[in-house]
């Protein structure tokens, strides 16, 4: 029997058709993966099932009954729960308070905190999740926060769980744990819909897969009947090279050199210990590591957002210790920050303004303090075409209305188009579809071909392995190993990422 049936569903935003007559059937007790490129309409489709957006036309049936949800509350009432990519949790509250939000247990006016905790812990234990009800959200890892979101839905007795890109922010270990949890939930009779760009995850957990492209239904297939290559082809509509070719490159002078840098976080704990690294012209250097081992802080230190306690960062023979990101960009260092919405974009600013943000003082865009709108619009058009950014015909729209992957492409396009000598990218393809990953990777390699230097920080080991010539592995704020990609293996890096070394002897310069 079908748990969910969607018939001829359409959603228009103004003139733009985001979802175009989609039919979808989800069976009870299956894990159903939704795949598609950035901007294909996956999130929009799911938001309609969850009552966050109203369809323009078409029908939704839940257990055979037609529904018209006005709000998520009604969807939850009908047994549909959704976990968003951006969590909706209150950081200063405890796990149990967040789970019960809106459904507190009270006696008179007073909230029965003890009882609440016990109830929630019961649910957590029932599903065998690794969580402590009394922890505060702000103190637990991203993976744990996601488990809170899932339990929040399960505690409300939903049968259908929708997850929008759940693994985008998780470490590989956390992702494995998540997939195990989802499979266990499926086995206990829940229906699960998962949106993800990572085809290996799809292969691992899904029963069936539905692909959509440009808002249209392409097909639903059984997982066991297809391989990754075939899914990718359905998504993109052409063959996608899943592994990348890059020719050898002769490296030149040192471009950036970090010497024994130490740094502390705002809360006063040391986050970087004696980190030294360098990158040469015509070289791509990767920084690997399980997320949370100091890579983000290294990125911030390199991009002028974190004060150093000691040590020195030298770029083309000048110290850049105290330079602001703006100054660094003026020195031809391109910066792609880890969190596109926090440091990469201004979501309420227009697409075209975001495409020059940080470079808006350049003579080209700003003459005597006056922004050159024509030039800016022209520049935007040009980049959108060159970087194949989808669905932004109107460049005066807010960046916030773009899909996640397209928003990321805006940041990449902006930084690359300024033709920097050194490009520092953190999580360059997070939330980006495979077609676009291929494209971004090619662009990065093109940079190397032009004898530029590139630093890639990524928690995707495969990304670091395919791109880099040389890899530094970080563990607990230290660089614990350095390897030439050609002379190492995924396994060896993986071992280093876990913090295991045996009397490391460094090499190379």
């Amino acid at each position: 029997m079908n748990n969910i049936e969607v018939v001829n569903l359409t959603k228009k935003f103004g003139d733009f058709v985001a979802i175009n007559g989609i039919n979808l059937e989800v069976k009870k007790g299956e894990i159903h993966a939704i795949c598609g490129e950035n901007g294909a309409g996956k999130s929009t489709l799911m938001n309609m099932l969850f009552g966050l957006i109203e369809p323009s036309s078409g029908q939704i049936f839940i257990n055979g009954e037609e529904v018209h949800f006005q709000s998520p509350k009604e969807a939850i009432h009908q047994g549909i729960g959704m976990v968003h990519q951006h969590f909706k949790l209150v950081p200063s509250l405890t796990v149990y308070e967040n789970i019960l939000l809106g459904e507190e247990i009270v006696k008179g006016f007073k909230i029965q905190q003890r009882k609440e905790y016990e109830e929630v812990q019961k649910t957590i234990d029932h599903y065998n999740f690794d969580l402590n009800g009394k922890d505060k959200i702000q103190d637990i890892s991203v993976g744990a926060q996601q488990r809170v979101e899932i339990i929040k839905m399960l505690h409300r007795n939903v049968d259908i769980l929708i997850l929008d890109e759940p693994s985008a922010v998780l470490t590989p270990q956390e992702t494995d744990e998540l997939l195990d949890n989802l499979i266990a939930l499926r086995n206990s009779g829940k229906t699960i819909i998962i949106i993800t760009h990572k085809l290996d995850e799809v292969k691992k957990c899904a029963d069936r897969i539905t692909v959509i492209r440009h808002g249209k239904f392409i097909g639903t297939v059984n997982n066991k009947d297809v391989n990754q290559q075939e899914i990718a082809k359905m998504m993109v509509g052409r063959d996608v090279k899943l592994d990348l070719q890059k020719e050898d490159s002769e490296r030149g002078n040192v471009v950036l050199l970090a010497k024994n840098i130490n740094a502390y976080s705002d809360s006063g704990s040391q986050v970087l210990y004696d980190v030294s690294m360098n990158v040469h012209e015509g070289e791509i250097v990767g920084i690997a590591g399980v997320e949370g081992n100091g890579q983000s802080f290294l990125m911030n230190a390199l991009s002028g957002m974190l004060k150093l306690e000691s040590g020195e960062i030298i770029y083309q023979d000048n110290s850049i210790n105290d330079k602001s990101p703006q100054a660094l960009r003026d020195m031809k260092i391109g910066l792609v920050p880890e969190d596109r919405y926090l440091h990469g974009l201004n979501s309420t600013m227009s697409i075209r303004d975001n495409l020059i943000a940080g470079y808006h003082w350049r003579k080209q865009f700003c003459d005597f303090g006056v922004l050159q709108q024509k030039e800016i619009a022209h520049h935007a058009k040009d980049l959108i075409e060159r970087f194949d950014i989808r669905n932004c015909d109107n460049t005066s729209l807010e960046v916030g209305s773009l899909s996640g992957g397209n928003a990321q492409k805006i940041v990449i396009a902006r930084e690359m188009s300024m033709n920097p000598n050194l490009l520092i990218l953190s999580q360059p393809t997070r939330g980006v579809d495979i077609g676009s990953i291929e494209f971004i990777h090619q662009q990065i390699i093109e940079f190397r071909r032009k004898k530029k230097a590139v630093i890639v920080i990524s928690s995707e080991l495969s990304e670091v392995m395919t791109l880099s010539d040389r890899i530094y592995v970080m563990y607990k704020g230290r660089v614990i190993g350095e390897r030439l990609t050609k002379q190492t293996s995924k396994e060896e890096i993986g071992v280093l990422m876990a913090g295991i070394t045996d009397g490391e002897a460094k090499f190379g310069e």
Partner: protein, 304 residues
């Protein structure tokens, strides 16, 4: 020693209006609404209190009317700032300006007074002599014989703490202020919660205003709140939005006020003495500011 007790007694007296406004303001602050209209809400409370006391001769009706007038402003603020999504700072400042002008205008047009309105018919708030408290040494010198609002301010502190941390309402208010999307995602009535928060604030501001006008002096003077609403805001920020912290800072500011009054008998130009509370606030805010940025290592925007 006696001197100290007198100053402490007067500190509680001076603290009451600031603390009432500040503790009231804590709710809007926690709901993520910056309410700069605390000042105007107090002033309208002071004005209405005096007028109604003069007209009816009943202190009870006067207090009720003061609270009502202040809450009407709260509603006005909410309609413009929350429902219509106007800029809350501009809305708040507009309310302050309107109240300042309107009270002076009414005073002149209807009561023929310029700047000050004082009349023997105005009934004030009498200090309370509390049985058990009066027999406790020291404490009685500090806390006995205060106007009712001093006790109300202490009660407000306890209630605010309970509501904010032990009831659904408080939990929801904190949720709305800290993560609005979380509130939306479980269907909490976000706007209604913001309204309630603002109205709790204006309720207490009304009481604070009455206290300024009807304790001790029993008269209305143009702009007689002289920035206490903003001092209350400073107390909220310094106290990081907790009722207890807010009260402590209100008390500190009240102390500076009391000190200023005490020093007025000295032979120093009055204007200098009157600066003391404000200098003190600048000092406190500077210290609070330095403490909060100390040890920060990230440049630019802080990761939230």
């Amino acid at each position: 020693m006696d001197e100290l007790l007198i100053i402490l007694h007067s500190t509680f007296r001076m603290t009451a209006p600031i603390a009432l406004a500040a503790i009231g303001g804590v709710f809007a602050h926690r709901a993520g609404v910056l309410n700069v209209a605390l000042e105007g809400m107090m002033l309208v409370g002071a004005f209405t209190g005096v007028m109604v006391s003069y007209l009816t001769g009943s202190i009870l009706i006067a207090v009720l009317a003061a609270v009502l007038s202040s809450m009407i402003l709260g509603l006005l603020f909410s309609v413009f700032g929350i429902t219509l999504k106007g800029n809350v700072i501009i809305t708040g400042l507009a309310i302050n300006t309107i109240v300042l002008g309107l009270t002076a205008y009414i005073l002149q047009v209807f009561f023929g007074q310029r700047g000050v309105f004082s009349n023997p018919k105005i009934i004030g708030l009498e200090p309370l002599d509390i049985p058990i408290l009066r027999d406790i040494p020291i404490l009685s010198d500090i806390l006995n014989n205060q106007t009712p609002m001093v006790y109300v301010s202490l009660l407000a502190l306890i209630l605010a703490h309970f509501v904010l941390y032990h009831t659904k309402l408080g939990l929801y208010i904190r949720t709305v202020g800290e993560k609005e999307e979380a509130a939306y995602s479980v269907g909490l009535p976000v706007n209604k919660l913001k309204y309630i928060s603002v109205l709790i604030g204006s309720f207490l501001c009304g009481l604070g205003g009455v206290n300024i006008a009807l304790e001790n002096v029993t008269m209305f003077v143009e702009d007689m709140t002289v920035g206490r609403g903003f001092i209350a805001l400073a107390a909220i920020f310094s106290g990081q939005g907790t009722p207890i912290g807010t009260f402590i800072f209100s008390f500190l500011f009240g102390f500076a006020d009391a000190l200023q009054i005490r020093l007025q008998s000295l032979n120093i130009p009055g204007a200098f003495i009157q600066m003391i509370p404000f200098l003190f606030i600048v000092l406190v805010l500077t210290v609070v500011g330095i403490i909060s940025v100390r040890g920060r290592t990230s440049r630019g925007i802080k990761n939230e």
